[in-house]
Every structure is written in structure tokens, then in C-alpha cells.
Subunit: 307 residues, 2 copies
Amino acid sequence: MIFRSDVEAARTRIGSRVRTTPVLHTGGLWLKLEQFQHTGSFKARGAFNRILAAAEQGALPAVGVIAASGGNAGLAAAHAAREIGIPAEVYVPETAPEVKVARLRALGASVVQAGREYAEAYEAATKRVADTGALFCHAYDQPEICAGQGTVALELEEQTGGVDTVLVAVGGGGLMAGIAAALEGRSRVVAVEPRDCPSFHAALAAGQPVDAEVSGVAADSLGARRTGDIAFTVARRTGVRSLLVGDDDVVAARRALWEGYRIAIEHGTAAAYAALLTGAYRPSPGERVAVICCGANTDPADLTERH
Amino acid sequence: MIFRSDVEAARTRIGSRVRTTPVLHTGGLWLKLEQFQHTGSFKARGAFNRILAAAEQGALPAVGVIAASGGNAGLAAAHAAREIGIPAEVYVPETAPEVKVARLRALGASVVQAGREYAEAYEAATKRVADTGALFCHAYDQPEICAGQGTVALELEEQTGGVDTVLVAVGGGGLMAGIAAALEGRSRVVAVEPRDCPSFHAALAAGQPVDAEVSGVAADSLGARRTGDIAFTVARRTGVRSLLVGDDDVVAARRALWEGYRIAIEHGTAAAYAALLTGAYRPSPGERVAVICCGANTDPADLTERH
């Protein structure tokens, strides 16, 4: 469980180790351009908070940190560890694309390829944590990770003077949890998922986190099969609303952000904007709405019409 | 000739018809993200100012505006005319790519293909202006155009509290002129060109605008063969400094902005950042430097390493 005070503490702790990302205000809408963050997504916020919180408590082992992710969470853990000056070991499946492995290595991480699926890499990582005493950086379901991600909402609040509604794409729910905790009682938070990655929607329907089938264009960033416990608890407490959009809507939203604004983001991120474009979320007249553009670890080659 | 007061008047005139584009502050550097402007470049500022200034003087003909450009200036004129509710006719060479013609038409412009080179399209446009009394929107060499572009510097000043130095890429010089006029006596302005598009550098060397050979990766946006008279006069008066960078540096700078920040811009724009990366411009310790990211009408397909 986390609260706004945890997010405020995270912000103090992280300080200038993360970029204050700008907002673009246009047509009554605020776009929070968090894709400009170190390593291309919001995940750097949580990784720094996790590691620095451990250091504060004298619980940062010299052996360093371990993460299990071939995506944004792995990049963020590797970056944060390098900046803080400790080793990082990142577990990915043997099927991870070479370009992702190379990117992790370029950030100084040791990459361990284990198993054929993410779940196996995750198991290997947790076993290694137990064996070595390294600090585990979960991709979303740890209080310090969630609180760190939430710092993006404190920035947004200062930059906009506060908004009525924040639309955010949801995978495992770490970012949603942090934002919902930060803005509890202040702003409505709307969690948007592709219909083919509906873990949070399924959790709300079931009354608890449950496994969901995940696939589609955004599965690489939003494909967590089960919403985190922290995310679910915070979302229920704060009344986060869940919306679904189609993969076609996600593709169209991503292209619309390029065509209309020259903003390049990954498919998962575009889900949040798709909720506006499709009318899945319809703001009231005068409603102050923000969309979190949370990542751009994408190949921009298919942004233009000729592709 | 233009002065800061002209830029201030332009800003009042244009009002909220252009986007206030955000800045990203990172590592002591400010990146002004003007590529998010309507139609993907700063050119919308000048086009609105040119048309609205004519309207103020009762000199806006019902026949509308004419521009000669298959690039950013044409898009901006078409957009501004449509927003203001008058026709736009845009002259391009017969060799203009279909995608550019389609984009102009999508903005509601009549596209006239005339001649095999830009110079011939320009001649046809000016003849048509003489025949019809339409308002000509030059790509760079009109006071209202230059003053409009300069409004980006007034925004930058407010957003940063003022900087010591502004690095800006230069084609015909309209943006440079506007910025230099806006920041005269306040900030140093450094004009950066690719060695293969050295019109401004050649003008300074010759003591007046002269024709230069233009080619290379940035020629589509910076390929004006001759610096505008206004740009030259303002640059001399305000002491704009000229720097050259190589095409390879431009390509590397464009990729570095993607790799490090997930900012996608066109080659011409990247020239300004290249001056920093190469050390062609070396800031003093503590110097406050801004780079204008002025356009992103680019195919982002070649931003990633696999291309």
C-alpha cells in the first residue's frame, strides 16, 4: 500500500536523478511527455527510488540489483544502478531479441538469458536474489517502485496547476498506482488497457488480481498477465476507473500523435490517448484532462503513412 | 529590418493560434521543442503573423495567400490560411514528391506545380501574385514572417528565465532573424549550418547575401541558396555568430537526440545540436545554452540503429 506521502518522499529521494519532463498544453489537453525520461520511459523513476531507499536504510548490497525484464523496467534498473555505481544483473528469456540484450549491455548490465518465457526468467531472477542477497527491482509490484513512478504526477500537478482527470496506460500497474496515490482526492485517474491486454480490467471484474491472456500490439510494454497487488489495492481505494480500447485504436492514436504533434511513442503508451480519440473517455465541457505519454522505446519506422 | 518590438507585436497578434511549445531542461541545456508546432515546424508562427498583420491593415485580399514551397513554409501557409478562413495557393516544382503535394492538399491548399526547380515555382508564384493581388507569404524574407518566427524566443525566455546562448539552424534565415531581433542585447545567437548548405556563412564572408551551392542531408529544409536580406541585416546588427558542421555530424546529432531523449527531428534541425556534440560550439562553465528543435517533418524510419 502506498500514499501520497510515499510519493512525496520518493521525489525528495530521487531529486535531480530523473529528468523533469515537459508538458505540451494544446486544445485544452495536457500531454505529459514522460517518454523523454532517461532510458525512454517513466520506469527510471521507480528504479532510482527503489535503490536509493534501500541505500538510505543501509540495505543496499554490494552485489547490486537484479531485475527480470527485457523491456523498460530492465533498462531503467540498469541505468539507475550504473548511475548509483552498483552492478546490475538483468534476467531475460532466451527468446529476447538481440537488440534488447545489446541495449541492456550498453547500459553496463550483466544480462542473463534464462528459460523460454518471461515467467522462467523471473523465477531464475528471484532464485538468484535468494542466493546472493542482491536487491530485487520488480517491474511494478513493490512500494518503492510504485511510489517512484508516482512522482510524474507531482510534476504534472505543478506544471498544470492541477487537472481533473489523468489518463494512463496500464500494464502491471506500477505507474497507475503511483499516480493514483499521488493524486488521491485531487484528480480522477482513468486506467486504459488494450482489450487484448486486460489484466487490470479483469482484476476489477474478479475482485482481485487474476491471470489474463495478453497479446496484441502493446503486449511488449503492457503485457503483464496479472495486475500487481499494490496497484490493485491502491486503485480500489482511490476509485481508479478502467477503460478498454482496441488494438486498431492504439495504432491510430500512436499515428495521430505523430501526425498532429510529431510525438513518437510506443504502442502501449498510445492506449491512453486512444481512449480520448475513440470517445471511450468523453471529457465534460471545461474538464482539465492530462494524458501521460509514458514511453517511446519503439521503432519509429512505422509511424509514417507509407508503412 | 525588425526589432524586438516587432516580435512582441507579432506575439500579441498571433495569440493562441500557435502552440506554446515546451522546453526540456537537461544537463544544463534547454531544448526548445518547437517541432511540436502546428504543421511540424516553427513556420506556422510567421505565416500567422504575415496574414493577420495584413488583415489588421485591411490588406487581406479575398483571393487569399500564395506561397512557393513544397516544404515547411508551404505547409504553414496552408494551415494558417485555412485557420483564418481564406484560400491558399502553394507553388511547388513539378518534381515535388507526391507525398508533399498530398500533405498540402490535405491542409486545403490548391497546389500548383510549375517548373522543374524551386526557382521556377517561385517565379510562377510571384507572377500569380502580381496578376491576382493575393498576399504573398515568403518562406523567410519578409518582416512579418521573421518577426513571427521570433516569437519562439520570447516563449523560450519566459520558460528558462533567459539563457546566455541560443543555437539555431539556419536556412533562409527567417527564424534566426526573429530570434536575434527578439533577444538583441540579451542572448548570444549562434547560427549553425551544414557545410553543404552554407548560405549564411557565405553571406557573412562576402559582406552581403550571395548565392551558395546547397546540397546534402539537410538541403530539404536548409537549402535556401541565398540568405534573406532581413536575416543578413539583423544578423550583422546583432552580432550573430556563424558555425558550420558536417553532414555526418548532423546525422549523428539527429540520432543522438532520439537515442538520448526520444526526440525525433528533421536533419536540418539537428544541425544546431550537432554544433554542441562536435565541440564546434563549446559553452563556458555555467553558460546557459538553448537549442531550438525547430522541425520534425521527417521520415523517422532511419532513426534507429538497424537502418
